[in-house]
C-alpha cells in the first residue's frame, strides 16, 4: 500500500508520464505535468515556511489548479483543507479559524472574497495564487510561482501514512460545519480498494461530478491516480444542463461515473440518454441518498451495458460498504447497501450498544482502515461519535457510530433502514420518513419527494411532504392523498402536502433536507418557487 496520496500521482507519472491525468474542458494535464506542477506548489508552500502537519486551505473553483494544489499540499507535508467555493463567507471564516490554517491557496477571480477572509482571519499569513496588495504581515505569491518552481523532485521531507492528509467540512446548513480529519492511510485504504474492486486501469476515464471539497473526490482523484487513469472534471454549466452533460459523457468517453442519485435522475429525465452513445461507460457508482427504485430501473434499462454499484458511507468513513447490482436487473427494493469494503468491519447494535440478532434492525457501527481519525479539535463530538468495545483475547476496537439504522437480509447484505434521526413518532406511532418518500415516489407523476417531520404541538411530530411532479401532468393534492391512502397507514400520511417546482440541493447535489426544514419553519419563502 502506498504511504501518501501524492505518492499515487508520482507512481502514475512513472508508469504513464504522457497519459492524461486530469481534463477540464479544452485543457488537460498529463501525469508528468501534474507531478511537475504540484512539486512547484509544494516548493512554494515550503518556501513560505510550511511545516509538516500545517493546515493549508484551498479555495478554488473547479479547474486544473485543483489537483495541482491538492497534490502540492500533500507533497509539502501539509494537511489539506478544501473549502467549498460556494461556502458563505462567515462559514469559511469559521472553518479557517477552527483548523488554524495559516496558508491559503486561491486565485485572482476570488480576490474580493479572499480580501474579506483575510480581514476576518488574521491567522492567515501566506496566500498563494493572488497578486493584489495584501494586509500588513501577509506574504503572497502569484500562481506563476508554481510554474517557476516546477520540478521533478519534491521537497525533501519525511511524510508518514498516519500524517493528516485532509480535513473536509460538511455544509453545516443549520449550524457549525463538522471538520472531518483523515490520514493518508485512511484515504488510501479506500482509493486502493476501489481501484481494485472496479478494475480501474490506465484506459479508464472517471468523471468528477461533485465539488472537489467533498468525499466523492477521494474516488474521483485518488482511485484514478492509483490506476494512472484520467479524471474528467465536469464543469458547473454541464451540471445545470443535463442534455449537455450527456453529450459531454459521450464526447469524453467516460468509463466510470460516481455521483449522488439525484444527478443520475436528472440525466435520466432530461439528458436524452437514448440518443447518446455511452457504450464506453462500464461502471455507474452512486451514493449519498436513496435511489428511487423506478428511476434506477429505468436507468439500468437505458445503460444496459454498464454495471451499477451502490456504495455507502459518510465522509467520516470514506465509503464502508458496497453492493453491485446483478446484471440481469434482479435487484431487490429496497436496494441493499451490501457488504463492508476495504477490510472494514460492520456491527449492528441496539440503543444500549449491544449486538442485535441477524433479523433485527439497529444502528450500524464501522471499524477499519477507511475510518477518519476524528472530528478536528472537537473532543466532545468525538466522544459521541466513537465507541470502544472489548473483544475476545483482551483486544479493544474503536467503532464509528454511523447514526444509520440497518438490518440484514437473507443473503447477509446490509439494508439501509433510515437515519436514526429520521425515525419519528406521530401520535405514538413510529414512522420512517423514507417510507413516506418511497410511497410518494411510487406514484407515476411524482419525480421527487421529501418527507419532513416538524415539531408540532405537545412535542408530537407533524408530517409534511414537499413534492416535485412531472410538469406535463396535472395532479392535485387531493389526487396525491387518495393515492397515499392505498400505500400508507393513516397516521403516516403527511398532514401537509406541498407541490414545488424544484428542491434545494447540497453541494454534492443531494436534496437539502435541512434547508427545506428551515424554509418550512420560517415560512419565509413560497413553496412553489416559480410561482
Amino acid at each position: 500500500m502506498a504511504i501518501a496520496l501524492h505518492q499515487l500521482a508520482i507512481e502514475a507519472a512513472g508508469q504513464r508520464p504522457e497519459g492524461e491525468a486530469v481534463r477540464c474542458g479544452n485543457e488537460a494535464l498529463r501525469w508528468a505535468e501534474l507531478v511537475l506542477n504540484s512539486n512547484g506548489m509544494a516548493h512554494a508552500l515550503n518556501g513560505f515556511g510550511l511545516k509538516r502537519g500545517d493546515r493549508v486551505a484551498v479555495f478554488l473553483t473547479k479547474s486544473l489548479r485543483v489537483p495541482v494544489a491538492f497534490y502540492g499540499v500533500f507533497a509539502a507535508g501539509g494537511a489539506l483543507v478544501p473549502i467549498d467555493p460556494k461556502t458563505p463567507i462567515d462559514q469559511a471564516v469559521r472553518i479557517l479559524r477552527r483548523t488554524g490554517a495559516r496558508f491559503l491557496v486561491s486565485e485572482v477571480s476570488r480576490t474580493s472574497v479572499v480580501t474579506s477572509l483575510l480581514a476576518a482571519c488574521p491567522e492567515i499569513k501566506y496566500v498563494l495564487g493572488l497578486n493584489c496588495d495584501m494586509p500588513a504581515g501577509v506574504n503572497s505569491a502569484p500562481w506563476s510561482t508554481v510554474d517557476e518552481l516546477a520540478s521533478y523532485s519534491g521537497p525533501d521531507l519525511r511524510i508518514g501514512s498516519l500524517d493528516n492528509s485532509y480535513i473536509m467540512h460538511t455544509s453545516g446548513s443549520t449550524g457549525e460545519p463538522k471538520l472531518i480529519c483523515h490520514t493518508h492511510s485512511s484515504a488510501i485504504a479506500f482509493a486502493e480498494w476501489s481501484a481494485r474492486e472496479y478494475g480501474l486501469t490506465c484506459d479508464d476515464r472517471l468523471s468528477n461530478h461533485s465539488s472537489h471539497h467533498t468525499c466523492f473526490a477521494t474516488f474521483d482523484f485518488y482511485a484514478a491516480a492509483r490506476a494512472a487513469a484520467a479524471t474528467v472534471l465536469l464543469p458547473p454549466a454541464a451540471m445545470m444542463m443535463p442534455a449537455s452533460l450527456a453529450e459531454l459523457l459521450e464526447r469524453e468517453c467516460i468509463t466510470v461515473w460516481y455521483s449522488v442519485p439525484t444527478a443520475l435522475v436528472q440525466l435520466l429525465l432530461q439528458g436524452n440518454l437514448a440518443e447518446r452513445n455511452l457504450n464506453a461507460l462500464r461502471w455507474v457508482l452512486f451514493a449519498g441518498e436513496v435511489f428511487p427504485d423506478k428511476h434506477l430501473r429505468a436507468l439500468c434499462a437505458i445503460l444496459d451495458h454498464a454495471r451499477f454499484s451502490q456504495v455507502y458511507g459518510s465522509t467520516e468513513v470514506n465509503v464502508c460498504t458496497y453492493y453491485h447490482l446483478p446484471a440481469n436487473g434482479a435487484f431487490p427494493n429496497p436496494l441493499p447497501i451490501g457488504q463492508p469494503c476495504a477490510g472494514d468491519r460492520a456491527l449492528v447494535v441496539n440503543e444500549t450498544l449491544d449486538r442485535v440478532s441477524c433479523s433485527e434492525a439497529g444502528e450500524l457501527l464501522i471499524s477499519g482502515a477507511t475510518v477518519m481519525t476524528g472530528y478536528w479539535g472537537d473532543p466532545e463530538r468525538n466522544g459521541r461519535a466513537f465507541v470502544s468495545r472489548s473483544e475476545p483475547g483482551g483486544f479493544e476496537a474503536r467503532w464509528f457510530r454511523t447514526g444509520d439504522q440497518v438490518k440484514q437480509d437473507d443473503d447477509g447484505n446490509l439494508i439501509f433502514a433510515g437515519r436514526t434521526d429520521y425515525q419519528v413518532k406521530v401520535r405514538g406511532f413510529r414512522v420512517e420518513l423514507e417510507e413516506i418518500e418511497s410511497a410518494l415516489l411510487s406514484i407515476n407523476s411524482v419525480r421527487e419527494a421529501v418527507a419532513l417531520a416538524m415539531n408540532g404541538e405537545d412535542g408530537d411530530a407533524q408530517l409534511c411532504a414537499v413534492i416535485v411532479c412531472d410538469p406535463l401532468v396535472e395532479i392535485t393534492e387531493r389526487d396525491l392523498r387518495s393515492n397515499l391512502q392505498h400505500t400508507l397507514p393513516p397516521y403516516a400520511i403527511p398532514s401537509e402536502l406541498h407541490l414545488a417546482s424544484s428542491l434545494p440541493r447540497t453541494p454534492t447535489g443531494k436534496i437539502d433536507r435541512k434547508a427545506l426544514t428551515l424554509r418550512y419553519e420560517q415560512k419565509t419563502e413560497e413553496w412553489n418557487q416559480s410561482a
Binding site: 454549466a237 451540471m239 445545470m240 444542463m241 449537455s244 417546482s501 424544484s502 418557487q529 416559480s530
Partner: protein
C-alpha cells in the same frame, strides 16, 4: 435586433435581475449564467420554468443545453427561434 427580440431579452434580463440574483449584484446580457458564480442549479430551473411559461414555448428535456442557456442573449435568441418554429 427587432423590437420583438428586444422585448424578449428585456423580459428575461428583468427576471434574472429581480428574481434570481442578490440585490447588490448585476447581470449583463452577455454574462455567463452557468459558471456557478451567478446562479445555482435551483435558480437555473426557475429561469427555465419562467421562460417556458412566459413565452409558452413548450420546453423539452432536449432543450436543456449549455448553448441555449449560457447567457441572457443566447437564451433570448433560443426563445425567439422557438416562437418562430413551434407556434
Amino acid at each position: 435586433m427587432s423590437d420583438e427580440a428586444n422585448a424578449i431579452q428585456t423580459t428575461i434580463l428583468n427576471f434574472v435581475c429581480q428574481e434570481l440574483i442578490a440585490e447588490d449584484m448585476s447581470v449583463a446580457v452577455d454574462d455567463d449564467l452557468l459558471s456557478g458564480e451567478l446562479l445555482d442549479s435551483l435558480a437555473v430551473l426557475r429561469l427555465a420554468t419562467f421562460v417556458d411559461q412566459e413565452f409558452s414555448i413548450g420546453m423539452q428535456p432536449t432543450d436543456f443545453l449549455i448553448e441555449n442557456f449560457q447567457t441572457v442573449a443566447v437564451l433570448s435568441a433560443f426563445v425567439a427561434r422557438c416562437i418562430e418554429t413551434r407556434s
